[in-house]
C-alpha cells in the first residue's frame, strides 16, 4: 500500500488547542495535508467531548504533544475525495473515531481489530506515518483515510451520533465479544457517565437485563426512567451491594479513577466476567481467591475495530439509540472541561463546531 511520504501541509485549518498541561484551550491556526488518493476531507459538524480528551490535555498519561487539538468523536460532511476513494461520496455524513491509521498487516488489522494493532495511530496526539502530529476534531476539518471512517445513516441525528464514535463503540464491542448481549443476560454497568448511559441503551436494545452501579445516588431516576435500566445500585451502600451478590453474568466498568474491584467481583455469578474500560495508571489489587472461587475473570477492552464501529452505528440507527447530550459552543469548551472533571454533565458534551467555531477566529 502506498504510504503518503512527506506531504507538504498546505491546507489551512483552524481549531482550538492546548499549549501546555494546564489543558486550557484557545484558538489555533494550523494546516492539514492535502487529500491523498485514498483519503477524504471532512468538514467537521460536531465533535463530542470524551474524558480521554481531558486526560490528554492535562498530560495525565505523560505522552501529550503540544499544541494539542483533541477530539475523537467527530461527525462531519465529506467535501473532497481522493481519486481511489470508493466508500464515500461528496456530501456524505461520516464519522471519525479514535484511530485514523494502523499497520494494516498484523493479525489484529487483518481481523478487522485495528484498535488492537500495536502501531495504531490516534486521531489526535498520534504521530502519522508521514511524521506529522495528528490534530483532532475540535477543528473545522480533518483529512482521513477512508478505511478509518464510517458512514452515518441519515436516520441518526448528527449531534447525538457523535459520542457513539468513542463512547458507543467502547460499550458495544465488549458486550458482543464477552457474550453479554442478549436476552437472559444480566449486565452490570459501573458508572453512569458518557459511556455508561449509552451502554444502558445498547444493553436494553440487545434484550439484556441491566443494573447500573453508581456512587451517585442522584442518578437513579435518570438510569431507570430515561435510560431504561432495570435496577440501580449505590456502590457505597453495603446492604444493596450485598443483596446483589452473585447476580450478574458480566459487568462493564467505565470508571477510570482508581476504585476497589473486589465488591464488583462479588456481584458476578460463577463464571462471570468483569470488563474494565477505564485506563487507570495505578494497578488494582487482585485478590486471586475472588476469581478462583467462582471461575471469574477480569478483562480489558478498548473501543472496537472500524468494521465493528460501522456495525454499531447501523445498530444504533436501527434501534434509535443516541447519546444524551448537552450541545455547547466552541468558546464554552474550557468551562465544559471543568464541569466534566467534576462529572457535571448529563451525559456528554458535544461541540457544535459548524455553527460556533469559525466565529471564534479573530
Amino acid at each position: 500500500m502506498q504510504r503518503l511520504g512527506e506531504k507538504y501541509q498546505s491546507v489551512e485549518a483552524f481549531g482550538w488547542a492546548a499549549r501546555d498541561s494546564s489543558g486550557h484551550l484557545s484558538p489555533f491556526v494550523f494546516s492539514r495535508r492535502e487529500t491523498g488518493e485514498e483519503e477524504v476531507r471532512v468538514k467537521v459538524l460536531y465533535c463530542g467531548l470524551c474524558h480521554s480528551d481531558l486526560h490528554c490535555l492535562k498530560n495525565e498519561w505523560h505522552s501529550s504533544i503540544y499544541p494539542l487539538v483533541p477530539g475523537h468523536e467527530i461527525v462531519g460532511e465529506v467535501t473532497e475525495i481522493g481519486r481511489k476513494v470508493s466508500k464515500f461520496s461528496i456530501g456524505d455524513k461520516i464519522g471519525v473515531g479514535c484511530i485514523v491509521d494502523s499497520c494494516r498487516a498484523c493479525e489484529s488489522c487483518r481481523e478487522d481489530q485495528e484498535n488492537y494493532c500495536t502501531k495504531s495511530v490516534a486521531t489526535y496526539n498520534g504521530v502519522h506515518y508521514d511524521g506529522t502530529v495528528n490534530y483532532g476534531g475540535y477543528s473545522d476539518h480533518i483529512v482521513v483515510d477512508e478505511r478509518y471512517a464510517v458512514k452515518i445513516p441519515h436516520t441518526l441525528p448528527l449531534a447525538s451520533a457523535a459520542p457513539l464514535l468513542c463512547a458507543g463503540i467502547s460499550m458495544y464491542s465488549p458486550m458482543k465479544y464477552f457474550g453479554l448481549a442478549g436476552p437472559g443476560k444480566h449486565i452490570g454497568i459501573v458508572g453512569l457517565g458518557g459511556l455508561g448511559h449509552i451502554g444502558v441503551r445498547f444493553a436494553k436494545a440487545f434484550g439484556s437485563k441491566v443494573t447500573v452501579v453508581s456512587s451517585t445516588a442522584g442518578k437513579s431516576k435518570d438510569a431507570l426512567e430515561i435510560f431504561g435500566a432495570d435496577g440501580f445500585l449505590v456502590s457505597t451502600d453495603e446492604d444493596q451491594m450485598q443483596a446483589a451478590m452473585g447476580t450478574m453474568d458480566g459487568i462493564i466498568d467505565t470508571v477510570s479513577a482508581s476504585h476497589p474491584i473486589l465488591p464488583l467481583i462479588g456481584l458476578l455469578k460463577p463464571s462471570g466476567k468483569l470488563v474494565l474500560l477505564g485506563a487507570t495508571e495505578k494497578p488494582f489489587d487482585l485478590h486471586a481467591f475472588s476469581l478462583i472461587l467462582g471461575r471469574k475473570s477480569i478483562a480489558g477492552s478498548a473501543i472496537g475495530g472500524i468494521k465493528e464501529t460501522q456495525e454499531m452505528i447501523n445498530f444504533a440507527a436501527e434501534h434509535g439509540i443516541k447519546a444524551e447530550i448537552e450541545t455547547i459552543s466552541m468558546e464554552y469548551v474550557n468551562t465544559a472541561m471543568d464541569r466534566l472533571a467534576k462529572g457535571d454533565v448529563r451525559y456528554r458534551f458535544v461541540i457544535d463546531i459548524a455553527n460556533t467555531l469559525a466565529v471564534t477566529r479573530s
Binding site: E107, S108, Q113, Y116, T118, Y177, G246, P270, S271, K273, L276, L277, G278, A279, T280, E281, P283, F284, D285, L286, H287, A288, F289, S290, L291, I292, L293, G294, R295, K296, S297, I298, A299, G300, S301, A302
Partner: protein, 358 residues
Amino acid sequence: MAKSSDQNKAFGWAANDKSGVLSPFHFSRRENGDNDVTVKILFCGVCHSDLHTIKNDWGFSHYPIIPGHEIVGIATKVGKNVTKFKEGDRVGVGVIIGSCQSCESCNQDLENYCPQLVYTYNSRSFDGTRNQGGYSDKIVVDQRFVLSFPDGLPSDSGAPLLCAGITVYSPMKYYGMTEEKGKHLGVSGLGGLGHIAVKIGKAFGLKVTVISRSSEKESEAIDRLGADSFLVTTDAQKMKDAIGTMDFVLDTVSAEHSLLPLFSLLKVNGKLVALGLPEKPLELPIFPLVLGRKMVGGSQIGGMKETQEMLDFCAKHSIVADIELIKISDINSAMDRLAKSDVRYRFVIDVANSINSA
C-alpha cells in the same frame, strides 16, 4: 446419620497448630451410610494447599487438621444405594466431598462452584462433623464425590491428578486452550501443577513454553516433560523476544509475584489463568488488559464429571505425575522440602504401607 462407633476408628497424622508439624492422631469416621463408600487409603498426594492449610497461611484453619485430598484407595464397603462402585474397586477422592446438590452450579456438574461446597479436609459437613483428609488409613465419602480410577492409571503416580491434574485440566478446557492444536501455552511455575500442565498441554497438541525464575529445571522440562521451550523470567532479552507470543498462560505460582511480565507475553486477546493461591493480593496492571483485550481468570479444581473425564483422558494418554514416594513418618521433612520447592514434582505418601495404628 453420621454416627461414629468403635468400628470406625481411624488413624492418621494431624497438625495441631500453625507450626504445621504433623503427628499421629486417633479419630473416627462416620458409619458407612446408604450413599457412602468406605475407602481403605493406599496413597495420598501431598499438595501445596496441604502445607498452606496446616500453617494457617490463609487464616481459616481449624485444628487439628489431617490434610490430604489426592487420595487413591480400595472400596471396602458400599452403601445400599451405591450403584457406581462395588467392594474391591479402585477409587479416588479429590478435593471436595460434598455440595448442596441442588443449585445451578451443582445441576451443571460444577459442584466445585457450589456456594455450599464441602472440602475434603478443614471443613464441616452439613451434619456438623469436622472433615479430616487423606493422610489417614480410611475415609468415608458420598458416592457422588468418589471417582473411578481407570485401569492403566497407577495408584501412586495417578494420585496427584485428583487435585493437580483437574486443577490444570479444567481451565485448559474452559478457557479454550484445547480447541485448536498448535496454540501456544505458557506454563508459569514448574511444580506439582506446572509439570502436569506441560504433559496435558502436549497431549492436546499445544506448543508449550515453561516460564520459570531460574534455568535449573530447563533440561528436564524439555527432555523429560516434553516442553517445547523454556523461558527464564530474569533473562531480560529472552523475555523481550517473547513479548506477544503466547495465546495462554497458566500461572501456577502461589508466591508473591508480578503479573505484568506474564501479561506482556500474551498476544492480543490472550488469557492468563491464575491458579496459585497467594496470601496477599497481587498487583493487577490495567493498561495491558485494556490495550490488548487481555484477560485474567481464575479456576478451582473441576466438577466431579469433569474430574472423571480428566482421569480417563490421562489414562488414555499415559499421563501421570512425577512423584517421590515417601513414608508417612517422613511427612514433616517432606513439608520442609516442599516449602523450598525441593521436589520433582509431587510427594506421594505410601499410606497403606507406612501408616499403622498404635
